[in-house]
Each structure stands twice: as C-alpha cells, then as structure tokens.
Subunit: 335 residues, 2 copies
C-alpha cells in the first residue's frame, strides 16, 4: 500500500468485490431502490422475541447469503470486520460468535461500512489475508429506543430529522479471486466538530466532515468531481446533502450532476422519513445493492463512497457536548 | 504480512515500539506497579466537571506524552487507532477531534488494546503508514455508571467481581524508526460463548476465549509456553486467571511459571478490588508501563500479551443473553 498526500492510501494488490448482499426492512423495501435489494423483510423481529435479536438474524441472513454467492468456503474467510449502532456493537458480537470467524469490531457510527472496507482492504493488501468479510447494519427500532425514545412513546420528530435504516450490507473482498469491481484507494477521515449540538440535525453536523474528506482526497490524488461517475455520501439526508453541495461549491467543486446521498435516495418523499435515511445500514445496504450492481453492469466505472458518522452518545448530548463527526472515503473502480 | 495456520499473522516489516506512555488513577497508583506508570492522577475528573470529560483529558495527556517522547512530529503520524468502554466510543472520538489525526475507532471491550496494535501493525506492514498511534483506556467512574449502578447508590459487589481500571495506555508504532521492542506476530480472536450470563463474573466468561486464542497461536506457530519469557492476559482477574491456568493445563500447557494477568497484578490484595482490575485501560496501562519497560531493559525478550474482552451490553444482559467473549494476542520481541 502506498500513502498519497495526507489522508489517502492506494492499494498495490488487486482487492476485488467477490460478492455482496443487502437486506432491508419493509419500509426501505417500499422505497425507490426496492428492486436492487436481495432481501426485503416484512417482519422486523425476524421471528425473534426482540428487535435486538431480530437485528442479529438480519446480519446472519445477509452474511450467509454473501458467503454462499461468493462460493468461498467459510473456513477460507480469514477475517470478519464490521460493526453496528448498538452499544458495545452487540449485534456484530453475537453474529461473530455464530459465524466462528476471526473478528475485529469497528465503530465509527454510520461511517462503519467504509471503515470496514478500509481495514479489510489493508489486511488484503498486506498479503496476510486472502478473503475478508465486511458487514455493517442498523435497525430502526433498536436504534430508536437506544438513542431516542421508546417507540410506544410516539414522539414527534423534527422536520430536519432522519430515519434510521433497517438494513444490513455485506461485502466479501478477496485478493485472490478476480471480479469486475475493485477497491483502488481510500481516504481515512479526521474527526471534525463544527459545534452542532442538536442530535436531531445530524445531516448538518456530518456535512462538513464529508466535505473535508472529499476535498482531502481530491487534493491528495490531484483529481476532482469530474473524474468520477458517481460520488455517493452515506447518510446526510436531503438537508445534509444540500449543505454538502454548497460547501463543495465554496471549495470550487460543483458536484450537482454526479452526486447522490444514500440516505436521501433510499426513501420516497411520501414515506414520512423527513430528511431521509441514516444508520450504519444505510450506506451499507445501498452500496451492496444499487451502487455495486450499477458497477457490475458497467454503467458506473469510477465511484466514490463517503460514509459519514455522527460520533455522539446520549451521555455526551446530555452533558451539552457538540457532535464530533467523521467521514471515510472508498474509491471503487469497475471494468 | 504472512498468515500462519488459522488465526496467526506474521509481520514482514519491522514494526517497532517507538514510544509509550501510561496514566492511571490514584487507586492504581497505590498498587504494586506504581513505580512503572508515567502519570498517577489524584483527581479522577482531571479538573473537569464530569468523569466523562475527565477521561478524555486522561487520554489526551497520555497520548501527547507518548508523541513527545517519540520525537515524531504529530503531522507525521498517519493514523490513530483505538477505543474505550464508553457507548459509541465517545472518549476516543472527542480525543481524535482534538488531535486532528486520521482516526479508526475500534471496539472489542477490554481486548481493544491488542486489537489496536493488530490494526496498527497491519497498516505499518502494508507500507501505507509509517507511524501509527494506538491508544485505549477506561475509567472506573464512567464505566460503573454506564454498565452497573450510579456510584452514589453504593451497591455491594460480588466476591468474584472485578474493578474497572482508571487508566490509559498509548503505544506509538513505526516501521521507519528503530527501537528495541518489535511486534512480530499476532493472532486474531474468534468470539466464543461458553454460556456464562453473570455479568459480575467476567473472568470466568473470558478465560475460555483467552485459552482458545493462546492454543490457536501455539498450534499455528508450533511453539509452546516455554518459548516465551512472559505470557500476560489482559484482565481475567485472580479467579479468571486461575481458570485459564486449569484450562491450559487440560490442553497440555503448564503456564504456571511464566504467566501473569494484568488485572490481577495491578492492585494489591488489600485494596478491596476483589478479583482485580478490568477494562480497556487495564492491559493498555500495564503493557505501556511494566511489560514494555522490562522488555526495554532486556529482562524480558519474548512476550505474549492476550487482552480479553467481554462483549455484552446492559441490553443483552437484560434480555437474558449469555456473554460472548474475545481475546486477541500480540507477540512482542526484544533485543
């Protein structure tokens, strides 16, 4: 691996997307991307007694399907990297226990999917690992009661709030098995804090982090928005992505024509999700459905995915802290 | 990097411990390792209004001192990897925001220190990074109120319980600057669940995870306990380490003579910490004081550190789940 500039790393080995799988809940399954998901689940407890146990089943179903599609035997997967939004990453921990794979738990909130791809790609580039499984997810009902209010309370949401995506995305990467889509470069984010302390307004809090990582990557690589077919942020939502477009324009990059936000596009405007989706499962499920399928068909060739994470907790919020945010960028290249 | 056997990886580049720093609270500073720590803090709020904000100051003081000792300029540190016990890793997030370094948040509970060394070493071995900062920590008072009871409640502790260490450890690794102590190999743990569901009895829950990782490493490398000057587990405590010794003996490895547990040795028996210390700061502070100083003087040459983590949350416990555990092993070699 080679470092380019301040925050960007370029892989020297071929790190290929061998297989992928996405699973979402019924609300996401009613949205504009419904035809791209592998599984749409109508029971968000997956037959279990609690949402938390249901979330684990969603992970297991997605991961097992990704492994099956790859034709790689489970015992040949060297490493499982990933996380979720639950305190102590418990969904991933129980899933790792079931899978009996070597496991590294990661947490950068909704940026955990790109974080996983970064750590996975580094293990593959180093030559230590041959096949690495990257998976992250989130669940509306487990996140809602952990971060906000019990569902039964029926609180009103602010007009600028977002909706945690119920969904899981799994990507199997390999440096041995060839495929059409490769991870070429990535940029690791720095934590930025612009002083936003309203936890309902995460799009506004995260937009500057996305801007900083994208600009650092453009500077490090000597490229700009025109060099990519698609620039996708993780889950800024409508408001956050409007802010990002403005911020990028101020920096001299007009991303209007080839920019999408996974959170903005996963729901329709009439689905009452306000600014759109968020959560570790948002960019994970959109990457592993819509984005990678368009790359596999050759419709998209050079793609940047920038997952964004808001790194607060209920405690820091209660203690009056502002929201530190991070964004990691992964550059994919197709044939 | 080269994979050996099932769970072990061997570094091909020299990954050196350039500098290190440890900071602990006053209780740890009264314990048997007091002469080894860089800083012993008598104010566990570090002049801040809350324990949580104090924890961040502990991280910052430790990390800044490690960077200063290394003589590496902050802008030449490519990456900061680490985590803590707080929900959403908020201590590390705010610290990363202050430090303005590229950041990857990791969580494997009390095994996060070895997890950080593993991810950091992989970035260094791949050649992408030159200098990586690894830091983890924990704080008795923030952990107690998050995981158990408010301190004011004054609950009685079970005789087999442990005491979360107030402490932080930071290690600066480099593939460019040479030093006496190197990371040579590591083994990534699998999540194991032996059905223990008593969250006060973490030593018993974690001992099998430590046993499995150590045995996998011995098998993968064709070595045994006699090949190492010291085998140190993270925080099994007295009871947990007694269980581990028995489990290892059953597997044919008698580790009685060269085995210590960081949690067991950080407190004196008369300090009312029951089975001893635990927490992400336990193996982090003991590694970056006692263990590495003995390696630097040449007293210890080949050392295995196996941090152990109990991966439950208050929610999984309330829902009756057992405790999944993990242990990651890092092998250091001195001159």
């Amino acid at each position: 691996m080679k470092k380019i500039g301040e925050q960007t790393f370029e892989l020297e080995k071929d790190v290929c997307v061998v297989s992928r799988c996405s699973l979402v809940g019924s609300k996401e399954g009613d949205g504009p991307l419904k035809d791209y998901f592998d599984f749409i689940e109508t029971d968000d407890k997956m037959g279990e007694k609690t949402f938390e146990k249901g979330e684990r089943q969603m992970f297991l179903k997605t991961i097992k399907s990704a492994i099956e599609k790859s034709k790689i035997k489970k015992e040949n997967i060297d490493l499982y990297v990933g996380g979720d939004l639950m305190n102590q990453l418990v969904s991933s921990n129980y899933v790792a226990s079931e899978l009996e794979l070597c496991f590294l738990g990661l947490y950068n909130a909704c940026a955990t999917m790109t974080e996983s791809l970064i750590v996975g790609s580094t293990f593959l580039d180093s030559g230590g690992a041959t096949n690495v499984l990257c998976a992250t997810g989130s669940h509306f009902s487990t996140a809602e009661r952990q971060y906000r209010y019990p569902l039964e309370f029926g609180n009103q949401r602010q007009s600028y709030a977002q909706w945690t995506v119920t969904g899981v995305g799994a990507t199997l990467l390999s440096n041995k098995i060839s495929s059409k889509v490769k991870v070429k470069r990535f940029a690791i984010g720095k934590v930025t804090d612009f002083g936003v302390s309203d936890i309902a307004n995460m799009g506004a809090a995260m937009a500057p982090a996305a801007m900083e990582t994208i600009c650092a990557f453009f500077k490090d690589t000597g490229t700009n928005q025109k060099d990519y077919d698609l620039i996708a942020t993780g889950d800024l939502g409508k408001l956050g992505s409007d802010i990002l477009k403005d911020l990028m324009l101020e920096k001299g990059y007009d991303i209007e024509t080839n920019y999408i936000d996974c959170g903005h596009m996963i729901f329709n405007i009439d689905q009452d999700t306000l600014q759109g989706g968020s959560g570790a499962g948002c960019s994970a499920s959109v990457l592993n459905s819509y984005i990678l399928s368009k790359m596999e068909t050759g419709e998209l060739k050079r793609v940047l995915l920038i997952s964004t994470g808001a790194l607060m907790s209920t405690t820091t919020n209660q203690q009056g802290d502002s929201i530190p945010c991070i964004a990691h960028l992964v550059m994919f290249e197709g044939e």
